[in-house]
Point group: D3
């Protein structure tokens, strides 16, 4: 089975990191079709970065579907363009935030999210609320580090995350942690081991979720909110080739 | 004072209709800076159309701000890219759905929304809920007509709207109606007169709201969720010139 | 256009302050019909004060409407009797809390409210929740000062407000502040300038909102919850003369 | 123990009916201190009627407390002035809507409310929601009959209620019914017997609840939202004599 | 009237304490039918303890009903098996958490809960939310003491509770306290006296509530969610003898 | 990997059907450890049946874990004892309702649930709400057929389900259907094909979800609400052998 994993930002090194996490998550026989969006912002930190990244991401979804992708993973924690992607795809589309939250509520009664910048806190709060997990999410925390700094100073980032996980456990009563940035994926297991708190990475969760949905043969419903786009000038073709 | 009214879709005749509604709403001394987005879908019917329209719309907002716009009105009822627009603008940004809902809850204890296509029903339900008016909104109804058909068959559209308004009043207990498409703006007063139900048009509401906010001297807060975008390749400039 | 601004408490100096704020907010051509309720408590601090103020306030609304008022502003942050006022008025009725909250959610992703006494905190929390902005309001804070003390010690009050605004920004992540008492109106701009946080005053917001609604020709819906009172002994006349 | 039962409207025959229901509910040793508010509307149908009734009702509460009342029952289904009453009373104050809803959620997983006029539907919906039972309340229904007509045409009213209860059971899936008007109290048992659906009357529920609270020795908390009014011209005395 | 009070855990000394609180709460003429569940955990601290206690508790409810119980009180703050108990009983069934919360929202605008162990915090939060009082509950606090330790070290427990009540008042703005464990019942009055904060004990509240419901002649609705169990192998008899 | 699938009721033919659905869902290399609870009701239709089934089910979970189960699936749509099971297990525990709802919100903007008996409607409504999908669930419908009748009259049941699915699509605007009973699992694909509506079966969803969680190496968090039971007479051993 072929899973399309799209990094909506244009930073290739971040795609590589996402790819490593996706590969480690994938079962034997799963092929990861890893794509970096082109012409999009180098990192997604706020609503405008999201908006600029979505059209190229939607095009990539269409192309990947034509290449045979049976599910799509949007590898950015803001789940940018998730509903739009479901509209243009026949295959299921999974956002890493939604996937991680679904794992968190299965493993723990209460969880916290740790993201990069403070500006992303209301974005993620609203996202988690829209997924119905607002009451189970104790708090969305930020380590005050830009996305690309995660990669540049991995050890500093790691130390900040460890401290923040411990604060979430002790101050929020968090029983599990959701990592609020795709760029934190590779630190996930090490963080769990060091802190003793289950730490959940959305890239891993989404790839596994994609395999599960493909295995069940499910496709996005085309009966209402996610129906094919209507044919029109300036719009997407109604249906993938 | 100068108010930028952007039609996020690329249909010029629809912009003209929006412009007429905006002009009629505007006070003496208000200048409507009316813009049609370029290269965007000819109508916005669903999440993907929204996504494709937003980048051009954000660019138009920046340009209009440079031309001296003191507020921005996004003239599409899905309020596409509203948060992103607030991020790239210094001036307040008003979505016609949010503006219409704010009027509705001031005039009536319960209201219904009437939109074009069924596919837009969950989109608008989620929007109204996110604006905190979910409990006051009795129902989102659709007349099953594409956006551009409103313009092509105005009398048929009008008849469908009259019937749907009466159904909302009698079956939902709606005390006011919000028109769920910018393309319905010009029918607003006639619908009120014919049905006796207060009918609210978002374009009018947003232009008036824009004048009010400009008059108060308010600008979008740059302290958190709507902070300037961070400088980056592929992103918007952090601050308008 | 004539806007009736009613101070539901009976303190004339507070009416004067509200009047100055209203005048400053008003556009050319707007006439502020400024009224102090008679026989009501000298300040409104809690549910009983509200209840005692409402009947005289409703009578004032009826009288002002007969004088030609095209909109009514209730200039007390608890929005006392707002629904009842909508029932007895043909013109739109605006509460300064609801108006300020509508501005806050337009300018900022998250805001806090700062009021006078701790006893008002649950009142305002419930009000903000009923307006659908509960999730966007980080916290309702109090400076522990009675309403009339604002006027008596303006500089001390100002200093307390500055400190509380900074606490809201730093501890709550508030991106904007709503002033939770009509008696704070005149300090609004100075507070914004000193703290750099957008500060929203409900009197200004309501007057501007009133102008907008009058301009649109809207009147309160008489089809359901805000229908005219039924004729009865001891009740209001069903309809204004 | 002495329970003050106040009819906030000024119709003495309705007070008598409430009194009979209260007496039937009361245990041996309970004295019902039955009062008709003076100068208030003859029936309470909407927000303005409520507002006009509350000040006299608050005064009655103070007087009754001086006479030795150990609890207060507000015998109008809109629970007018409930929070204000808690502020001016030392003893617990019980609204018949809140009391009935507390019984309903104890006896049934889902219930409906049946009231008099359509105009009261949003009022009661908001009240039930504020008591936290919105999700358990299937629907608020109206029989389209003014309050005083209940008394004038008891058999017609009874027939309308029977039909509406059956509709609520069959169409809403209601497992119990809350009667949405104090004037329906005396029909409660007969309605249960005829329809087989548990029918709950708020006057009975509130008197029983009052006995329970008195027995436990509880008094209204004076630490926050229901603290004594502050001493002021035009206000209530801070504390009952 | 006969009220069945069941301690779902198997610790007889705790039943005795519950019995003393129930007796003190009961009116003259009320008979407390006090039962200790057999074979259940010695204390209920978490979901599994609850699950293990419920079948024996349901059997005890059936037996007590056959003995003439007119209401049932489940004397454990997690309200274990409350819905199931309503299904197997004709008489009303009262959980001490729900009863205490109903009292709290009558006496105070905001309250906090104080329980034993941290692990019970999410359980009680979810319970309070399901009873519709989530927004009125400031916080669920724990004193980090196992249930049985309450009895073993009453003075230490008492001191911890006093400190926690004061913290709830000062830090949470709690206006009343709900004791979150049946084993705290006997300390209730002394805690109120020492702290000046109204402290609510669920056993007392539930017994009083039971008397009220019996007095009204109410029985559990058998029309939907609490209908008699269907006859089946391994199940309960559909109806009590 | 070994997945424990427990049928909490004691009907072996139903376990067989669940087993066939689980096997069909399982990947190569997955071993389904299929267990029928012993001594529990023959079907689970209501709260009491649930309560009677849970202790044996918890014991089965402990035993299966000792046999090497790496995840547990509770194959009853009410998700009975889900939180308790998470407390006694080291491995993740998945309820088929929660798993199906997680799939539904990934594939569709709005869904409906179809269950067996009307009495289960409020149970499932509350469950879906507690999983945060209340707003996305249009309606919980029932075909008025007992659980065991599904197996006895498969073709009649099938016809009822087809009709109900079409009603959900046409009347509710449901874009996908969740089957509200484990006994409907084998009809899932045929229903999708006949109606064109994506139909989701929880057994399949849960087995796939289990594989995903096992693959990620996740285990239930033991830090709060799902911590090991405390050691006590009458309770579970704190930790699985």
């Amino acid at each position: 089975m072929r899973i399309h994993v799209i990094n909506p930002n244009s930073t290739v090194s971040m795609t590589a990191q996402i790819g490593r996490a996706a590969q480690r998550a994938a079962s034997t026989g799963t092929e990861i079709d890893l794509v970096t969006a082109t012409g999009t912002p180098v990192s997604i930190e706020g609503y405008a970065d999201e908006a600029l990244a979505v059209p190229a991401m939607l095009a990539a979804i269409r192309t990947a579907e034509a290449r045979g992708a049976k599910a799509h993973v949007i590898a950015c924690f803001d789940d940018p363009g998730l509903s739009a992607a479901r509209e243009v795809a026949a295959a299921p589309v999974i956002g890493i935030c939604q996937a991680a939250v679904q794992v968190a509520v299965t493993l723990a009664a209460r969880f916290s999210v740790i993201t990069t910048l403070q500006r992303s806190v209301p974005i993620i709060e609203d996202l988690v609320e829209s997924y119905g997990a607002g009451r189970r999410c104790r708090r969305v925390r930020a380590i005050d580090l830009p996305v690309l700094a995660l990669d540049e100073n991995p050890e500093d980032s790691y130390a900040l995350l460890v401290a923040e996980i411990r604060a979430a456990r002790d101050q929020d009563g968090a029983e599990a942690i959701v990592l609020g940035c795709a760029g934190m994926a590779e630190m996930c297991e090490r963080l769990t081991e060091e802190t003793g708190v289950p730490v959940i990475d959305g890239v891993t969760a989404a790839v596994r979720n994609a395999e599960a949905l493909i295995g069940m043969g499910y496709r996005t419903s085309k009966l209402g909110g996610y129906a094919w786009p209507r044919a029109k000038t300036g719009g997407f073709a109604p249906e993938a080739a």
